[in-house]
Every structure is written in C-alpha cells, then in structure tokens.
C-alpha cells in the first residue's frame, strides 16, 4: 500500500524517532519508489536551496561574488516567489545590513536566523535542536570545524536540504536503501525547522531592513516553503490527497 | 425498494411558501464565519484565539454551549409533555420539536467541542477513565443519551410508514427525563463549585431547567410565527396558547428564583457572591443585566405574554424572540459574573490583574466566530429542513 504525501508528513511528525539509515521498517521503504524522483526538478531545487543558503550567510567577499555571479540564473525563481529580482546592494552596504538584521543590533538581533528562536521561548538551542543535530549526523554530515555556527542556522539548514537532494539524485541509480531516510530528513528539516521560521523571520526583515535585498529574498524563501507541499509531491513522486490534480 | 423511495419521498417536498431562503443564507454566512474561527483555532491555538484567561477560564463559549443545549432540553421537555403526558396540543408540533431539539443540541455540541482543548481525547477518556464524582461526566453522559434519544425520536417521527406513537411516547418521556437530568447536571457543574460562591448551590440546576423550558417554548413560538409568516393556522392555536402559558409560568418562576438569588447574595454581603451580584447590578455587567436579563428575558416577555392573553400568537412570538435574546445575556452574565471575584487579591506580585478588585473578561472575535458557528449551524440545518421536509405532524 503506497503512502500518500500527507500521511508521510504525519508519520514524520508523529514519530520523532531516530531515522537511522538502513533501519527503516518495511512500510516506509515501500512507501516510495525511487524511479518516481523527478531528477531535473530535484537538481533545480537543490541549487535553489544552496543559493538561498549562500544568501543567508554573512556576505564575505567570496560569498558576495557567488551571490552576485549567480543571481541571473535564479531570475525566474525570484520573480515567481519573491515578486521581483532582488537588487544586490554593494558589498559595503550589504555586510552592515546582514549584521544589523541577523547578527547584532543595538542590544538585540531583529531577525535571528536560528530555527530554535521560533520555537519555545525564543532562545537558542530549544528542545528540537538536538534532534536536528542528530538528523544531520545520521545523514552523514556535520558542521565543518571552521564554522562557528549552530546547526539550526538558516543557511546551514538550507545547505543541508540541498545536500540531501544531491544525495537523492546521486544515489538514485544505485541500490542504496537509505534514500527513504534522506527523504525523511529533507521533509523534517523543511517542515519542522524551516517552515515555522519563515513567516516571523520575513516579517522582522521587512520591519528592520534598509535595503530590499533581504526583503525580496526573504519573501522568496517564505513563499517557497509555503509552497513546499506540492513541490515535494511533484519532485518526489508521491501521491497526494490534496494535490492529486497536479499529478494528472 | 421503489416503495421505500416512494415512502421517503412522501416525507420530502419543497416548501416554497415558507420563507426559508433568507435564514438559510444567513445561516450559511454565519457558518462560514464560524469555520474561519475554527481554522483560526486550529492554526493559532485556543489560547491565542480565545479571550478566556487564567482567572476567567470559562467565557462566551461555555455560555453559548449552555444557551443551546438547555434550550434543546427545554424543547425535549415540551415534546415529552406532548408525547408522554398527553398534551395533545404539543403533539401537533412533535416533528418540529424533535428536529429543533436535535439541531439545537448539535449546535450546542459545536460550542463545547470548540471550547475543549482536546475534544477527541474526551471521547475515549469518558469511556476508559471517567470520574463519576465529576458533574461534567454526568452532564456528558446525559447529554450523550439525550442526543441518542432525540436521534431515535427523529427516526420514529420521520418514519415514512407512519409514526409509532407508542414508541414515540416512550422516547418522548425518556427525552424529557434525561433532558431534565442533563440540564440539572449542567447546572451542577456550576453548582458544585465551592470556590465560586455565586455558582455554588441549588439555584443554577433549578433555574436552568425552568429557563430551558421557557426557552424551548419561546423558540417554538418564534419559529411557528416565522414558518407561517406571522399567521399561524388555527390548528396550532391551542398549542401556541399553551406554550405561551407555559412560558409565562416559567418566567414567573425565574423571576422568583432570581429575586431570591439576588437578595440572598446581597443580604449581609457574603463576600464573593455579593461581588458577583454587584457586578450585575451596578458593575461592569449592569447593562447586560438590566437590559438584557431583566428587561428582555423577564419583564418584556412577561408583559407581552400578559398582553397577548395567550391568544395573540404574533405577540407571543415577539415575547419569545425577546426572551431568546434576553436568555443569551442571562447565560453569559451568570457565567461571567460568577468568575469576576478573583480567587486571590490582585496585589503586586500576585500575577492577578484586577480592576477595582474584580477580574475582567471580554469575548474575543474568535469566540464570537465560534458562536456564529453554532447559530449558523442551527439556522442553516433547521431552515434547510423546513424547506425540504414535511414537518407538520398530525395529532394522534
């Protein structure tokens, strides 16, 4: 019996249990047929996630030039989801903008880019944080030693989603049995960590930003995750109750 | 097979002469509003959407729940009188009574369903872990049975093969009995609260039963006036007249009960009960009390009933309407006023924010939306039935 996307989501949220690769039960493995993966879309989304991850990092010169260099390639994405193509201010303006929005302002941080801050009492490392660290490690990743950040930083989460999609695509042709764990991780990160953040996060950006760049990219991020259900249904090839017509 | 369909068809017709469309439309609008409220509760959570607080945990929805379900049991009581005690004038109304009681009860259940944080948990916990010392359990049990009986009654009175009057009489009697039990237990949910002296005692169980009957009679008077466009046919005159008298009697008892409740709460100023009564008489709820309760639920309907001499059905209908509006305030006022005296004084550091030593509560937009859901459900379902079902019962 194949699982619908909705019931898959429910399962993920109902069972906050360890998803160790190779340890899934039969029900889960049979829930998905890897041949249904829309590889091209997966690659596109992977790149969008990665690009968004770059955007929500501190714009060092290297990051800035990556953002600037690839902006054109994501024109469609930003027009569709952000309502406009973001205008990239000069790096000397973007850096202070990033700091004042996401790192430190006068005594506080307006739009903390940490998933934890949008769950519980607004402090870092709230309850789900350790589960996140576990998901990342079990998916075979960890934070690079040079990165002094928390795992639930938006940029890390987005990069992680990007990497998971990459794994899905790369291992799609192999007989790897861990693909379902990848999907579980991808959906859980998207729905448990990123989605609860986007509304409040973008609201805060809108009230504190001096340039449009993070307003537009924030809006794109928000719309993308509001639109996550049908995207994942289409991309992963799941049956959906509510979006059946799309599969037609 | 075909006879069955034929039989069923005999129950259905399109009543074009009953003015149902405006009510169905109004019901639909309220329902939509209500569903928006439901969505808000689901997405934002009870605490964010409702205005009830730590110190005033029970707000509008408890009042509207009581409003609906007690009216429903009042209807069942009248129906029971018709079926079981041979009040033939009421038997003519039996279909509408049963249908109305059923729908109003459903509307009441929407209110409590949305009020409870975990309505689904309730369903199985009542089975596996009921606390029989809790009045809510008995209230729940009796209202559950009431719904069942009303459902069965519906089947019986809408039996295309004709009503089994004997069965109907038994069920009507049971509905009456269980309804009284349910309502008085609902009263005891408040009457059991020693912490809230205004609630505590026999007043509320008694008052609810009496006011419920008046409410049922009012609703019937109003609906018959609407259905027959203020020109109720002669065949119902007896019934209407009798309803008017019943309602008048009940209002009389209500005045009696309320009077002594107030006097006993004022006499020598028994602390919290006194505060609650002052809230009503001259405090934040005084307009509700004097206009809503006293004028619209007691004085005006009684005056109108007397003026109608139990003959002028239109005037009795008007009395019913004012009573139903007044009854809403009566339910709301009682529940809110009882919670106005804080359990701890609002001193610095207590966490209790009192104004002039009293708590405050204002229903939130979300709570009004849920009320709209109940009201909408009733209007929508009932007038849909009016439009498509044959509701005139013949006297047996």
């Amino acid at each position: 019996m194949e699982m619908s996307f909705e019931s898959l989501k429910e399962t993920i949220f109902a069972q906050s249990r360890t998803l160790r690769p190779g340890m899934q039960d039969k029900h889960e493995t049979s829930a998905w047929d890897k041949n249904r993966l829309d590889v091209e879309s997966a690659l596109a989304l992977k790149n969008i996630f990665f690009y968004l991850s770059l955007i929500f990092r501190y714009p060092t010169e290297q990051i800035y030039s990556e953002i600037a260099g690839h902006l054109e390639a994501f024109t469609d994405f930003f027009t569709d989801y952000g309502g406009a193509v973001p205008e990239l201010p000069p790096i000397d303006d973007l850096q202070p903008e990033y700091i004042s929005l996401f790192v430190n302002n006068q005594g506080f941080v307006p739009a903390a880019p940490y998933a934890s801050c949008y769950q519980g009492d607004g402090l870092l490392m709230s309850d789900n944080f350790y589960r996140l660290r576990q998901i990342i490690m079990e998916s075979g990743f960890m934070l690079d030693a040079s990165v002094h950040e928390l795992e639930d930083h938006l940029a890390v989460l987005l990069e992680f989603c990007s990497s998971l999609l990459n794994t899905l695509v790369e291992k799609n042709n192999s007989s790897d049995k861990n693909l379902m764990a990848c999907i579980y991780a991808l959906l859980e990160i998207s729905y448990r960590y990123i989605e609860p953040l986007v509304d409040d996060f973008t609201d805060k950006i809108n009230s504190y930003a001096s340039y449009d760049f993070y307003k537009v990219t924030g809006k794109a991020l928000k719309s993308l995750f509001h639109d996550a259900d049908p995207i994942y249904v289409q991309l992963l090839g799941f049956r959906s109750n509510s979006t059946n017509e799309l599969q037609g | 097979m075909s006879t069955r369909i034929e039989n069923l068809r005999s129950l259905i017709r399109i009543n074009r002469d009953v003015p149902t469309i405006p009510f169905i439309a109004a019901g639909a609008v309220l329902l939509v509003l209500g569903l928006i409220g439901v969505a808000r509760v689901i997405f934002e959570g009870h605490e964010a959407v409702y205005g009830a607080t730590r110190q005033v945990p029970w707000g509008l929805l408890i009042a509207t729940y009581a409003y609906f379900v007690i009216t429903s049991t009042g209807l069942a009581f009248i129906g029971g009188l018709g079926h079981a005690f041979g009040f033939h004038q009421y038997a003519r109304l039996s279909k509408r009574i049963v249908l109305m009681a059923f729908i109003v009860l459903l509307a009441g259940f929407t209110q409590i369903g949305m009020e409870l944080g975990h309505p689904f948990r309730l369903m199985y916990l009542f089975l596996i872990s009921p606390n029989f010392s809790a009045p809510i359990v008995w209230m729940g049990i009796f209202y559950g049975i009431e719904l069942l009986i009303l459902g069965l009654e519906l089947l019986v009175v809408f039996n295309p093969n004709g009503t089994n009057h004997k069965l109907a009489a038994v069920l009507g009697f049971l509905a009456l009995l269980v309804g009284v039990m349910a309502t008085s237990n609902l009263g005891f949910v408040f009457g059991s609260l020693t912490a809230r002296p205004f609630f505590h005692g026999i007043y509320f169980p008694t008052f609810l039963v009496v006011s419920g009957i008046a409410g049922g009679a009012s609703l019937l008077l109003v609906i018959y006036n609407i259905v027959y466009k203020f020109n109720v046919p002669d065949q119902f005159k007896d019934a209407m007249s009798s309803l008017g008298k019943l309602m008048g009697l009940c209002i009389g008892i209500m005045i009696f009960l309320s009077f002594w409740k107030i006097i006993s709460s004022l006499y020598t100023e028994p602390k919290e009960a006194y505060d609650s009564v002052i809230v009503l008489l001259s405090g934040p709820l005084y307009a509700n009390f004097w206009i809503g309760e006293v004028l619209m639920a007691l004085v005006l309907p009684l005056a109108l009933l007397i003026a109608s001499k139990a003959k002028e059905i239109r005037i009795m209908g008007l009395a019913g309407l004012t009573f139903l509006i007044g009854m809403f305030f009566t339910r709301y006022d009682f529940i809110v006023a009882g919670q106005m005296p804080p359990m701890r004084a609002g001193n610095e550091g207590s966490g209790v924010e009192a104004i002039n030593g009293l708590m405050h509560y204002v229903p939130s937009s979300g709570e009004w939306m849920i009320f709209a859901l109940g009201l909408g459900l009733f209007l929508f379902l009932y007038f849909l039935s009016e439009r498509f079902l044959i509701l005139d019962a013949d006297a047996h």
Binding site: R20, P21, E40, S41, L43, A44, L45, K46, N47, I48, F50, Y51, S53, Y58, T60, Q62, S65, E66, H70, A73, D76, F77, D80, D92, Q95, P96, I99, S100, V103, N104, N105, Q106, G107, F108, V109, L123, L124, M125, F129, Y130, R133, M137, E138, G140, F141, M142, L143, D144, H148, E149, L150, A155, V156, E159, S163, D227, I231, Q234, T243, L246 | -
Partner: protein, 779 residues
C-alpha cells in the same frame, strides 16, 4: 488554482538554474562529511545528565552554582547547597542565568564599525583581524600622543578582569577606571579611616543590627542577605533607617524614615549618648583606639535633641537605639553595607559608623563587624616593562579640576566642611574616579586621552550625566568594547569583541575575602556556542599582535622586552589557563580538584576566625597603628580628622524632591533587564511618590509623570505610596534604555544616568547619586 500553482513552480522544470548550480565555487560548504560511516551513534549526547559546579556571574556576589546539563544543554542552574558564601541559595538573577548563553541577542563574532559611530553599521571580522586592528590602533595612539596613558581602560570586577590588566600593563597606560567610585569607594575610605580596612558584618551571629540606607532584602549580597533573616536568632533586633520603607524596612523591628543626608547626625547623637551615659567599652577604647578624648569633645554638642531637628527622628528614639546598641555590644552591628555613592560627605558618614562600632568594642569578635580574612593564592610574579612614555592618571594630574569644573564643588560647598576642593584626596590607583576622569578627558587636562578600551562596563548607562559620557566618547579616536551583549556603550564602539559567558569559560581562581573566606574558580558548564573568547585569550591575542609592532616597544629597555616575552607571553598567556590556575593553587594541595568538584575551596572547613587584630602587637593600617577615632592622616591632608557633622548647605527648593536610587532583587544594575525571565517580573520602573504629595499634585497611582532635574528629564509611571518620605522620590536603576535593542527595557521606564547630576565626593572620588533634586509633573 491549479494553473497558478504550476506557473509559480516553473523553476522546477527549467534547467537554467540547474546548470547554474554546477558553477558554484569550491569551498562553500558549511557541512562536511561526518567522520565515520557508518556513523557512531554512541557519541550523540542522549539521556545524559551532568551536574557541573561553578560560580554565578549575574552580579558581583559569585554565589555557588551547579549547572544541570541535560544532553549537552543547560537545563537549570541549581544553587550549590554546600557553598560557604552563598549558603545554598540562588536568587532570581542567578536562576535566570540559564538564558544568558542561549540568548540570540548575544554577541557572536568580532564586529568592526563601518559607518558613523552609533549608526549601527558593522562588519564581521575574524579574531586575527580584530587583534591586528586593536594592536595597530593602540600603537597609533601611542605614537601620536607620545603617551601611553592617552588610552584609557575601563573595567569592572570579575574573575577575568585580572587578564584585562595583563593587557593594560602590557600597553602601559595608567588611566584605568573601575566601577568602584560608582559604588562603594566612600564606604571603603570611611571605614578604613578608622580600622585601616573595610570589614564585613557577622550578621549570622549578631544580636542587634542597625542598617542605615542598606536594602539587603532587595540589593542582595551573600551571605548578608541570607544571614540577616535566615539565621535571625530569637531576640535579635533589626533597626532600619531609610527614607523608604524597603523590603528590609518591612523586616525591621523598627523602621525610621530618616531625612536623607542626615544619617551622620543620627549616629553622632548615638555616640553622644553612649559616651555621656558611659555606655562605651572602656577597655576596648583604651586598648585599641586613638583620639577618644577629641571625639568626646566633638560629639558633646551632638545631643539627641540636636539630632532630632536634623534627622526628624524623635530624640527619645535615638537615645533608645543608642542604649540598645551599647547593651547588645559587642554583638551589635552597625552595618557597613555596600553601595554608598550617596552624598558628598559620605566618607565622614561612614567614618562615623565605624567610630560607633569602635567605641562599643563591636570589632573582630563574634556577632560584630569583623575584618575580612582571605585565603592566599600563589601569584604569578609578573614584571611588566617600564614604559618611558607613560604619564600619571588624568584624574590625579589634573590639578584644581575638582573646584573648577565639578559642579558639586559649587553645589555642596566644601570649604569649611573638611572636604578637599582641588582634587580627590585618596584616589585609588587602579579604580580612579569616574567623574573626575571624565571631566579631565573632556577638558584635555592635563593631556589628551583619545583611546577608550572598555571591558564589561557600561558607562553610558551607569555613570551619572549621560550627556557628558557621550561627549567623552565623541572625543575618542578609538573605542574598543569587550562585552557579552551589544550594550549601550558597545553600540558606540569602533570594534566590539564578544566575550564568552561565565557558563562557557574557564575563569581563574579567585580568593574572596570575608568572615568566611573562600577561593572560587569557574569551569565551563557548557561548550561555547559561538566564536567568543575569554579575556585570557583576548589579551593573549592582542599582545601577540602588539609584539609584531616595533614602535610599541621603543620606549623600554630591550632586556625588559625579552623578559616580558618569556615571563608573560610564553609562560602564561600561551599556556592553557588551567596551568595558570594550578599555579595559583600550588600552596593548596587538592584545591584544584576540589574546585572542579565543588566550585569553591575553603581552609579549615570555612570556619570564621575572630580576633586576629586584637592580638597584642597587631598594627592597624593607620598612622598610629591603632584604631583611629581621630584620623591623623586626614589632619595632615587638611581634612577633618574627626567626623564633624556636615550640614547640607544647598537644600531643595520648595516643590523639589531629593532623588534616590536603588535596586531590586531581580536585576543587576543595567545588565539584566532584557532577560525575559527577569523582565516578566518587572516590565518597567516606576517613581515612588508619597501619597500626600501625589494628592497635592493630583497624580494618581499608575499615571505617567515627568521627572526633571538640572541635567535631564524622563517620563515614568508614578507609584503612589506611603512607603516613602514626602521629601524624596525614588526609582530603581537600569531602565529607560537608549538601545531600541534592549527591546524589553527600551523606552520603558526612566534612566537614572539621564537625570542624576555628576556630584563628587572629593575624598574618595566617588559619585554622589543622592545629591540630585527633581521636580515632578503630570506627563
């Protein structure tokens, strides 16, 4: 609906972005492959619970804590039940410390200003860049002004402060300003003028406690706040004198609403009674004190009847108090307290307190005022180079500064009251005097100070008259702030360096003196969350960069430099801090282990020792070696040698109130108001106004009012109460913040720095926070 959804998702089908992705540059990943595959699950913290002992740093008390760490996250801070100083308690602030490392508002990385000062434009820099930047600026200032003291260093107490001084001494500035003159410098000076040191009170064993102006129930000090109630024996009496009915007043057997600025008169009258009724401790006075006859002569005129007119407390009450005090001696305590930055003659007030204790023999014995004992730690014998280009402190060199520019010199005439009018008589070398220092900087007298280095101090909020502080900061060519949060001061800095919280850092061992002396240390309770460093690491980093700049070392003997590199840099700063700590504890075997386990260390089970100073041959730190009721050094300096009553010559105009400040038990000065768990206790401050006065002005409780002084105006809620004298108003400090980011404290309530005038006590250099008069109007 369908169509719209599809069109919005067209990127999925298009390949442009897919191709673009392949072109992302290398080395962009924040995530790398996990070390083992298959992954070793045992390293994940799961279901672990650890208890780690350390010490609190939410205020100055350093109470014992035990962090309860669940799965690597700090769940709760519990009090250490065995801790000798904090007696197993932990206050609201200590408990709320849990949220400190987890606050998203904390500083996470070094920030360099790119816009104008205070404009809020920052860029992120690495620690290496930060160290280079700081070192270069220090070098530039030294070159430009040919004076190392052209950079001033502000700091406040804390275990890491000693490493800050490694930096200060390596650079060679003498201009250091600490918090002391905002707090208790007058107290230290006054008591030391009599006993040669600043003692503690043995409240656990006292039978009679007289507290003037101390609110131990709210301004918590361990162990005093614990002892004065928890161990209150049967029959113990507590007498509280305070213009406000404080929480401490509520605990008192008698509360006297004394008229502000007249405490000295009350105590002088007590001395008068005790001497004239022959109630003093003759033997003690004879054996240990100097100048009794002079004292007797002085106080002869200070009768209770005289004092009644000053303090507005009935003469009989004063007499009764004096007799009771003498009756319970030596188990009587006149409580020294802590913050004493009250009035311009405060040193004499405190001297009077000390004299009362002395003549009753309430000294160094159980239940009396007792000199601090301390456990000696091994010190690192560090020789810093001698720098030629170092000038003396500005607040010392600036001659006549006090009289010329400090308003207090005019407002509270000094001449004839025994207060110096040229400079601060007994300025502490290390602490300096905030007001004088700021004034000297503003005047460029005697030389320009153009660099400001600030370690965990927030002068913008904590030093009275914020306008002057801002002007001072404007003068600076270089401002560096080391902080945990973007404080009001950090916001105006050029570079901000993030310091680790006390729960994430190793702090050196620290000997805390007192009746119950202990040694404390901190170990990390949790792993650091961000790229923050401790002062130990920051000093090391900056000093290493300084060593790369030859111009910084051209005014010293090259041999000194070699020694410095070896002894300071290589042997201390380059080594793990644990080595430093172990060396500190070298004379106390087992102490290091004990500190790791318990967070504190005591000798002899922490039992108090009494009577060290009463042994024959003991010399008090005074000119005569005795307890000086008559201070010989004050005489030399032209000060009153005896505590002559200092009449306030400037009185409030009608309609004015004396402004008082104080604290609550749930906030530390200006640093904790943004903590959500403390903010919810009190969301803004309110000005206390006597019921009668409020009625006259038609002000009702909870209404907003404007409070105005000579230097500023604030809007604040009125708290109309019987709990304050009609001639005073009061609010707690720490509110009405400049930073919109102190999102909770911003624009709620009123700031004290905005309205308190910069009045100076010229003996110790302390500020006088209760010398400001205000008017109140409906807002």
């Amino acid at each position: 609906m369908k169509k719209k959804l599809m069109s919005r998702r067209k990127f999925l089908g298009l390949s442009s972005s897919a191709i673009a992705g392949a072109l992302f540059g290398p080395n962009l990943n924040m995530l790398t492959a996990a070390p083992t595959d298959p992954f070793d699950y045992s390293i994940l913290p799961k279901g672990t619970r650890e208890y780690i002992a350390s010490n609190c740093a939410m205020c100055v008390n350093k109470c014992g804590i035990i962090g309860e760490v669940v799965n690597g996250k700090l769940h709760k801070i519990n009090p250490n039940p065995r801790h000798v100083k904090s007696r197993g308690m932990l206050c609201a602030k200590g408990n709320a410390g849990v949220s400190l490392p987890y606050s998203p508002d904390r500083l996470k990385t070094p920030l360099l200003r790119t816009g104008k000062r205070g404009e809020g434009k920052w860029k992120e820099i690495s620690w290496d860049e930060a160290f280079k930047y700081v070192a270069k600026n220090l070098a530039d200032l030294k070159q430009k002004y040919e004076n190392r003291s052209s950079v001033a260093f502000a700091s406040t107490e804390g275990f890491q402060e000693e490493f800050y001084y490694y930096l200060v001494n390596s650079f060679g500035s003498l201009n250091t300003v600490r918090h002391t003159t905002l707090c208790l410098s007058t107290n230290i000076q006054g008591w030391s003028s009599v006993f040669g040191s600043f003692p503690d009170a043995d409240l656990a064993n006292a039978e009679y406690v007289l507290m003037l102006g101390s609110d131990r129930a709210q301004a918590l000090i361990t162990p005093d706040s614990v002892d004065f109630q928890r161990y209150k024996p049967k029959g113990q009496k507590l007498i509280v004198l305070d213009p406000r009915f404080t929480e401490t007043g509520a605990k008192a057997d008698r509360w006297y609403p004394i008229k502000p600025r007249t405490d000295q008169g009350f105590v002088l009258a007590m001395i008068n009674v005790i001497i004239s009724e022959n109630l003093y401790d003759h033997k003690f006075v004879e054996t240990y004190t100097h100048g009794f006859e002079e004292l007797k002569e002085l106080v002869a005129e200070y009768t209770p009847e005289w004092a009644e007119k000053k303090c507005e407390i009935a003469a009989d009450e004063i007499r009764k108090t004096a007799r009771e005090f003498a009756d319970h001696a030596p188990r009587s305590v006149i409580y020294p307290g802590r913050r004493s930055s009250f009035y311009s003659h405060e040193v004499y007030v405190r001297q009077t307190f000390a004299i009362l204790a002395a003549i009753c023999g309430c000294w160094d014995t159980k239940g009396a005022v007792v000199p601090k004992s301390s456990i000696k730690l091994a010190s690192h014998d560090v020789m810093f180079p001698f720098f030629n280009l170092t000038r003396d402190r500005v607040d010392r060199e600036a001659v006549n500064l006090v009289k010329d520019v400090v308003p207090s010199a005019v407002q509270c005439p000094m001449i004839g009251t025994g207060l110096p009018d040229d400079s601060c008589a007994f300025l502490s070398e290390k602490d300096g005097s905030w007001i004088t220092f700021r004034e000297a900087v503003l005047q460029d007298d005697p030389y320009p100070v153009r660099g400001f280095f600030c370690f965990k101090q927030n002068p913008v909020q904590s030093v009275p008259n914020v306008k002057k502080t801002m002007k001072m900061l404007e003068k600076m060519e270089f401002i560096c702030v080391i902080e945990q949060q973007m404080s009001d001061t950090a916001w105006y800095a050029d570079i901000v360096l993030p310091h680790s919280t006390y729960l994430e850092s190793w702090d050196p061992a620290h000997s805390i003196g007192g009746i119950w002396p202990i040694v404390e240390m901190r170990q990390p309770v949790i792993k650091p969350l961000f790229d923050t460093k401790t002062m130990f690491e920051i000093s090391g980093g900056i000093i290493h960069e300084m060593l790369k700049i030859p111009s910084l070392w051209d005014d010293i003997d090259p041999v000194d430099l070699v020694d410095f590199k070896k002894n300071v840099v290589e042997d201390i700063l380059d080594k793990p801090i644990q080595d430093y700590i172990k060396h500190q504890l070298v004379n106390h075997p087992g102490a290091y282990k004990q500190l790791l386990k318990e967070g504190f260390y005591t000798v002899d089970g922490g039992r108090p020792t009494y009577g060290k100073t009463l042994k024959p041959g003991f010399r008090f730190k005074s000119k005569t070696g005795k307890i000086e009721l008559f201070n010989e050094r004050y005489k030399e300096f032209g000060l009153f040698p005896l505590p002559k009553y200092c009449e306030p010559e400037i009185l409030p105009d009608p309609g004015q109130y004396r402004f008082l400040v104080g604290r609550t038990a749930w906030n530390t000065h200006t640093s904790t108001q943004n903590n959500p768990y403390l903010w919810e206790i009190q969301k803004e401050n309110a000005v206390w106004l006597n019921t009668g006065e409020a009625k006259k002005k038609g002000i009702v409780d909870g209404e907003y009012v404007r409070i105005k002084s000579k230097i500023g105006e604030q809007r604040i809620k009125a708290y109309v109460t019987e709990k304050i004298r009609p001639d005073c108003v009061f609010y707690v400090n720490g509110w009405g913040r400049k930073s919109p980011g102190m999102s909770r404290a911003y624009k709620s309530g009123a700031s004290e720095a905005e309205i308190i005038d910069d009045v100076l006590d010229t003996i110790s250099g302390g500020v006088c926070m209760h010398e400001t008069f205000v008017t109140i109007k409906k807002a």
